[in-house]
């Protein structure tokens, strides 16, 4: 029994930490996010050169063959730097769908390009009405000869503007909220009938709404099996949730240390406010919230690495705890920074906003708790 990273994993973690320290101060991060793409292509190429883009892929496709532990190591450090480059969207989400799709042709055609940094990808699953229900899919895909024709709209598509290719979830059968009848299509962003509106989110990412009007997709561009897309989505989303929670873990640690440092320097009533016992106990609560979240992250990573039966319950529990403890830490970080916590110049607000978006992504704490309850009381 041990919770230590291997030497190789530590080297990986350190290299990301070094990148954040050397290339990613607050101002460059701001500039990267504000750019047209929503991130810095130079950094992306650096990720490729450092081999980070290959982490989750099998050696067979030139990948590093990393698992949940390697991804956690990388994401925790990226969280500390609020890195906006679309590692999650392209490598973990888009790449993850390819990886688990079992479709060798599409894998051979795309994974190498992801790894060398030349291919940006995205997953378009959300619709105006769907909230957190991945199975709530109105977008239609009708067979037409060997092809499918897609019609509908996808919203808040992460990395939707930079992506060369998008995986789109569409309904090939069943009712609007059925899990059965959802199919995943690999769509070229330049395909005829695609129209995009781009906008920004509070955490700096550039996202898009994607309108599909009679978009024609070849039948061999289906990921997994027709009508069976939901299981594939759930499997990959589970991995991505763990990755996002590792990012959140990095953010919480950063907020905790920043807050402690600030209270030591901020003087009121003639003393540093860190000397007030009431604030000390609240910072202890922040610390405990962070440590408990870290333990839950380790638990979920171990469950993923060992393929435990209760992996789904562990992931739901992790998302609940990251959401709740992240809110406690974010609220207290701003409150204890006083007026300074309200300014845009300080990084605190930006860390908090990213935490809030992570809580929302793939279902907030309340939603995930209901999922946890279903997994516990269904029997």
């Amino acid at each position: 029994m041990n919770f230590n990273l291997s030497e190789e994993q530590n080297m990986l973690k350190d290299s990301v930490a070094r990148f954040v320290r050397d290339e990613y101060d607050f101002d460059s991060r701001r500039a990267n996010a504000a750019s047209d793409l929503g991130f810095n292509p130079k950094n992306w190429q650096m990720f490729a050169d450092l081999g980070w883009l290959s982490i989750p892929f099998d050696e067979a496709h030139g990948g590093f063959g990393g698992g949940a532990t390697e991804v956690m190591a990388v994401m925790e450090e990226m969280g500390k730097g609020l890195v906006v480059e679309p590692f999650v969207a392209t490598v973990l989400m888009f790449g993850g769908l390819l990886n688990k799709s079992g479709n060798a042709v599409l894998q051979n055609a795309n994974i190498e390009k992801i790894i060398d940094g030349s291919l940006q990808g995205s997953f378009a699953y959300l619709e105006r009405q769907s909230r957190f229900e991945l199975a709530d899919v109105k977008t239609q895909a009708k067979r037409d000869g060997d092809d499918f024709v897609l019609n509908g709209e996808k919203t808040v598509v992460s990395n939707g503007m930079a992506a060369n290719k998008v995986v789109v979830s569409a309904r090939t059968s069943g009712e609007q909220c059925d899990e059965a009848g959802i199919t995943l299509f690999l769509v070229d962003i330049d395909a005829a009938g695609i129209e995009r509106t781009s906008y920004r989110l509070m955490d700096g990412q550039l996202v898009a709404n994607i309108k599909l009007t009679d978009v024609r997709v070849a039948g061999d561009h289906v990921l997994g099996d027709v009508d069976q897309g939901y299981a594939l989505i759930e499997a990959v989303v589970g991995d991505v949730i763990i990755a996002l929670c590792a990012e959140a873990m990095g953010i919480m640690q950063k907020l905790n240390t920043t807050t402690i440092e600030y209270t030591k320097t901020r003087k009121q009533f003639g003393v540093a406010i860190s000397s007030f016992q009431a604030l000390q106990h609240r910072m202890v609560d922040m610390f405990m919230a962070g440590e408990q979240a870290k333990s839950m992250l380790y638990r979920a990573v171990c469950a993923a690495e060992s393929g435990a039966d209760d992996l789904g319950k562990n992931i739901a529990a992790l998302k609940v705890m990251i959401g709740r403890n992240g809110k406690l830490i974010g609220d207290e970080a701003i409150q204890l920074h006083g007026g300074m916590g309200l300014t845009d110049e300080l990084d605190v607000g930006h860390y908090v906003k990213r935490l809030m978006m992570i809580n929302t992504t793939f279902g907030d704490a309340d939603y995930q708790q209901q999922k946890f309850n279903r997994l516990t009381y269904s029997d």
Partner: protein, 393 residues
């Protein structure tokens, strides 16, 4: 024990409702809530309607243009205004500096400033906090030195709301550094057009420009602009704080926000089911609604004791703490109800292209709302006050 309204009070309520429904327009609502370039003009347009009606400053002494409403009438007016979705008047002139002027100013100052405030001819801002003096207000360092009939003011004030719109600022400045910190503080009225004043925008987490830093570099202020005696400014300012805390509670506004939230809950769906049928949302709303039902009566108890001439007193800290906690829990629920769309920054885009109505405003309210537990004496300071003066700890 009796809170039922008398026939006269019910008649007054109808009168208020009629006036508000006739005077408050969709156009005003859009321009004021939009909070953009046109905000100031719209706000003044609305306050002028109140001024003409004679209801702009009901709390003032009658001889200066106030109305002698009972606490109940005041409560009725505030409740109706909030439930109609109408924002409060800008408090800095009408509710903050004016009372100081008519309580502690000289006749000359009363004649000079009060009528202009009542006609919305001046826009005031508040110069209390400083980079080094937040909850610990008495630590303020901005100094004013006498030079003939003028004070020379040098220093900086921070978190100054709407300083960019203001032509006057009321400040606490230090005229004496010897002795107790609370002594040696003087209350000055300063013309924002004076030479040596710079207003620096503070961009804040709600992406909206309301906060500023106001820097004073050897600014000349005539002693005629000093309220009361030199060194007594702290006493004059303190008289206001209890009132400020009470109004920060904004009970009636929270009632409206909660009512609107409940309606939204019935419109938003998850998995094809209206979220008004979701037990978790029901519980979160009722947790807050129950606290608010109680706080409304806590406020009434405070008002009643004011009516008995006891003054708001220390319960105002409780009002401030609970009121702001409730505001923030409501803001949080709007965010969670908006889901992914709580993160959307509209920018140039419209609700139509992006596909969601209230995410953007929910986020701005949430972010702006972080300030409520910090300003007006942080909630931690309110607890210290309560522990010391109410519980005797």
């Amino acid at each position: 024990m009796d809170i039922t309204f008398s026939a006269e009070e019910l008649a007054f309520r109808d009168q208020v409702r009629v006036f508000l429904s006739e005077s408050w327009t969709e156009d005003l609502a859009a321009r004021i809530n939009g909070r953009d370039g046109d905000y100031k003009a719209a706000q003044i347009e609305w306050q002028n309607k109140l001024s003409v009606k004679g209801w702009l400053a009901p709390g003032w002494p009658v001889e200066h243009g106030g109305v002698d409403w009972s606490v109940t009438e005041n409560f009725i007016f505030e409740t109706e205004r909030s439930l109609a979705g109408i924002p409060d008047v800008v408090p800095f002139g009408l509710k903050m500096v004016a009372p100081v002027i008519y309580d502690f100013g000289n006749d000359e100052q009363k004649k000079r400033f009060l009528p202009r405030i009542l006609k919305n001819e001046d826009w005031w801002c508040q110069g209390y906090s400083e980079p080094g003096a937040g909850s610990d207000l008495a630590a303020l360092k901005t100094k004013a030195e006498l030079d003939g009939d003028d004070y020379i003011v040098t220093g900086a004030k921070i978190w100054t709301t709407y300083a960019q719109y203001s032509n006057w600022i009321f400040c606490l400045v230090r005229t004496d550094s010897s002795g107790k910190r609370q002594d040696g503080i003087t209350f000055l009225l300063i013309d924002m057009d004076s030479a040596g004043i710079t207003v620096n925008k503070i961009s804040s987490i709600d992406d909206h420009h309301s906060l500023n830093e106001v820097v004073f570099d050897n600014v000349r202020v005539p002693t005629a602009n000093r309220i009361g005696d030199e060194g007594k400014g702290w006493t004059y300012a303190k008289a206001l704080l209890a009132h400020e805390r009470t109004s920060i509670a904004a009970v009636a506004d929270s009632k409206r926000r909660l009512r609107d939230l409940r309606e939204l809950l019935g419109q938003e769906v998850s998995g094809g089911r209206a979220l008004s049928q979701d037990t978790q949302f029901q519980n979160r709303l009722s947790n807050t609604e129950i606290e608010l039902m109680a706080l409304e009566y806590t406020e009434l108890r405070v008002l009643a004791s004011t009516a008995d001439g006891k003054g708001p007193g220390v319960e105002s800290s409780l009002l401030k703490i609970k009121g702001t906690e409730i505001q923030q829990s409501i803001q949080q629920m709007y965010m969670d109800l908006a889901g992914y769309y709580s993160g959307v920054i509209h920018g140039e885009d419209t609700e139509e292209t992006i596909g969601h109505a209230f995410g953007h405003s929910a986020r701005q309210a949430y972010m702006y709302g972080r300030a409520a537990t910090i300003y007006g004496g942080s909630n931690e300071v309110q607890k210290n006050i309560t522990a010391k003066y109410v519980l005797g700890l």
